[in-house]
Amino acid sequence: MIFEVLERSLQQPNRVIPVEALLGNCAGSRMPDVTAARLTPAIAQRLVEVCPTAAFSVAELGGRPCLKLSYAECIGCGRCEQPGEGAVVTAPRFTWCGLPKANLVRLWDLESHTEITPPRPNPEIMRGQIRSLFGKALNIRQLDAGSCNGCEAEISALTNPYYDLERFGIHFVASPKHADMLLVTGPVTRNMAGAVKNTYDAVPSPKLIVAVGACGCSGGIFAGSHAVVGGVDAVIPVDGYIPGCPPTPAMLLTGILEVLRRRTVR
């Protein structure tokens, strides 16, 4: 019987997506991007009003009005596209994965119509760097701190034949004691706060902590609930953030590799 399944599997074409096609890919996530040239103060104000998680805000920077977009809060609901009148589009590529929280913020000057986000120290994983990140094992322990299970579904998808995480030497382990990296999803609920701390303590140092999803990054739609403590960094220190609601497998991989890159390629 197992041969029948094997036979069917072998009849299928190879589905594995090359890593180059995964990095920066965000298809199916509906993360927003801003076209600076079309931005006006009125549109910016509408974006702030329509955003359910306050990912958009208007700030003053050096006396000039700016639109601020924080991907940590964004749940990719798409409600900003219509009032954005062309100034907000679904991002064709998305590389704000695995970065420190400060680097998830983008700023646009509303008068000069230009992006004024301070440049990232290392903009993107370079093709030449990819190979140097592999060849070493990375053991990941996934920890659900109170997620809705959307992030779990996408993390599980990383092991399917399209993404095949094992080809990079990355695998999921059953115990935090075997882990190099904690991949933490969900807002940290009051009921899970203790278990999250215990799990963190059980991971041997040096360890990498990655907050996954809008909830993990900021509390997301659950921020402010009486039963939620906050994002992952409200309880344990975090090395990198992967936004999205949920982040797609490609975004997760981009984020995991980015955190790894910052640790190994300095």
Partner: protein
């Protein structure tokens, strides 16, 4: 509930400000099935307990009693009410008399006593340290095995306390609500349109069912008519979610018995459908599409047809895979007679969804309480009576094929027109709605005023089905627990909310 209160009436025929109602007398054992029990606050902030029953009619029946004083438990007549009443006790501080077990359900040891978030404003809840007593099983050779809340795989947190003799489980006690996020409280004060986003985050893998159930409740409250095109596309989304969920479940069952080739095959089919969804809708899980009144945006008919072709291909390959899996002797050996839920247990605990249908309960919201496009759709409801892992697997395999057929039928004949109806939001609103989610009956009840919600209750199928798990695992070996658990496919977040 006392005896001089009038009979219950179908929801919608009398508002919540009417006289106190009771459940239909004499119907509790034979016909009526408990749907949910929940609390609310009246205009004068008086506490109320609502009971919703399915009495075999298309309309659900609702009863409520004032709860300024103690309320008698209905657990002895309706065992399925046990967790609901514990939740009421926690969230509303309603005194429940004659309840056999009123230990805290939702709030763990770090919540102080006397905090009732659904009644009082709670911003900063102080940290406390209380005690929780697990039930202890005593006797020669009885050992306890504690599992969780952090489990070994990529799954949600919950605690299982097994009492075993050797390999055999005598008793399992569940300790859940680790992912409790105060979701029902979050709805309070939010605009009806924003509520859809909260509903989508109740249980991520069933987000579309939640968004549709919530939206329908608002539409019923506002008496809005959803355009035919929107309700047809909703049906496609709901059936696709079921198909993906069932494929994923069968793959998960294979993982849990070490049949990894078949599990990888199922995972490939699931991913294929998620990618087809992203091509068609821009989102892998149909998030941000259903809103009160219809859909937030229209889908391209050509792309829907493309999705339908992908579904047809995946369903054919899944049927073939399922045939091979079920024909494998070692699978039969593991699936058959494992984790039996008897008809009696299923009925007493009012279980829903594939778990109910695998135990001989002929129940499907799509057929029994038709909504949206299901009012005109033709489909069968598979039922079997063995109640074991194999029965639940077979129900899901059959349902997956039916879902695929429904998608192809509807996608080939999509109505044209708008996808969003305007909502009349002025004044008081009160409505409810149910959807057959992949896990079973999902019920939303809400009330509000001028477009803002004052209360939204979610009956999730997982909350209903979890209490049946200890009955399914009893007398099985503990090593079969992951398999039996997977065969229920329950959401922790959906249960904990």
């Amino acid at each position: 509930m006392n005896d001089n209160t009038p009979e219950a009436v179908p929801i919608g025929e009398r508002g919540p400000t009417g006289p106190p109602l009771v459940l239909p007398r004499g119907k509790t054992e034979s016909v009526a099935r408990l749907v949910t029990v929940f609390g609310s606050l009246g205009v004068d902030r008086e506490k109320r307990v609502h009971y919703v029953f399915d009495v075999g009619a298309p309309k659900y029946w609702e009863a409520f009693v004032a709860a300024s004083g103690p309320v008698r438990s209905i657990v002895s007549e309706v065992p399925a009410a046990a967790w609901y009443e514990r939740e009421l006790h926690d969230q509303y501080g309603i005194e429940i008399t004659e309840h056999p077990d009123l230990r805290p359900l939702v709030f763990h040891e770090n919540w102080p006593e006397g905090v009732h978030p659904m009644v009082d404003a709670v911003n900063q809840v102080p940290w406390a340290s209380r005690e929780y007593k697990f039930l202890t099983v005593q006797g020669d050779g009885v050992a306890e095995v504690a599992v969780g809340p952090v489990h070994a795989g990529i799954i949600e947190p919950g605690h299982f306390r097994f009492s075993v003799v050797g390999d055999t489980v005598l008793h399992l006690e569940l300790r859940h609500f680790y992912t409790h996020k105060g979701t029902e409280k979050l709805f309070e004060g939010s605009f009806v349109n924003a509520g859809a986003m909260i509903a989508e985050s109740v249980s991520g893998d069933n987000c579309f069912a939640h968004a549709v159930a919530y939206s329908q409740a608002v539409e019923n409250a506002c008496r809005a008519e959803v355009p035919p095109r929107a309700s047809a596309i909703r049906l496609i989304g709901l059936e696709l979610e079921r198909l993906v969920s069932h494929i994923s479940d069968l793959g998960g069952l294979c993982t849990d018995v070490g049949f990894s080739v078949a599990a990888a095959y199922a995972a490939r089919l699931k991913e294929f459908l998620l990618r087809a969804s992203a091509d068609c809708t821009g989102t892998r899980y149909w998030r941000g599409i259903a809103v009160p009144g219809g859909l937030r945006f229209d889908l391209d008919s050509e792309k829907v047809l493309g999705l339908s072709q992908a579904v047809s291909l995946a369903a054919r390959q899944f049927a073939d895979l399922a045939r091979v899996i079920l024909g494998t002797p070692s699978i039969q050996n593991r699936f058959e007679t494992a984790g039996v839920v008897s008809l009696e247990v299923a009925r007493d605990l009012a279980v829903v969804g594939p778990v109910a249908r695998a135990s001989g309960i002929d129940l499907d919201v799509r057929r029994d309480h038709p909504y949206g496009h299901y009012k005109s759709a033709q489909f069968e409801v598979p039922v079997t009576h063995y109640g074991d892992v194999m029965a639940r697997a077979k129900i899901r395999i059959k349902e997956a094929a039916i879902s695929a057929r429904l998608i192809q039928q509807i996608a080939g004949a999509l109505p044209i027109g708008s996808v969003l109806a305007p909502l009349e939001l002025d004044g008081a609103m009160h409505g409810s709605s149910a959807v057959e989610s992949p896990r079973g009956e999902l019920f939303y009840w809400l009330q509000g005023r001028d477009g803002r919600l004052t209360r939204c209750h979610i009956k999730s199928p997982s909350f209903q089905n979890w209490p049946a798990m200890p009955f399914a695992i009893a007398d099985n070996i503990i090593a079969d627990f992951p398999l039996i658990n997977k065969s229920f496919n329950l959401s922790y977040s959906g249960c904990d909310r």
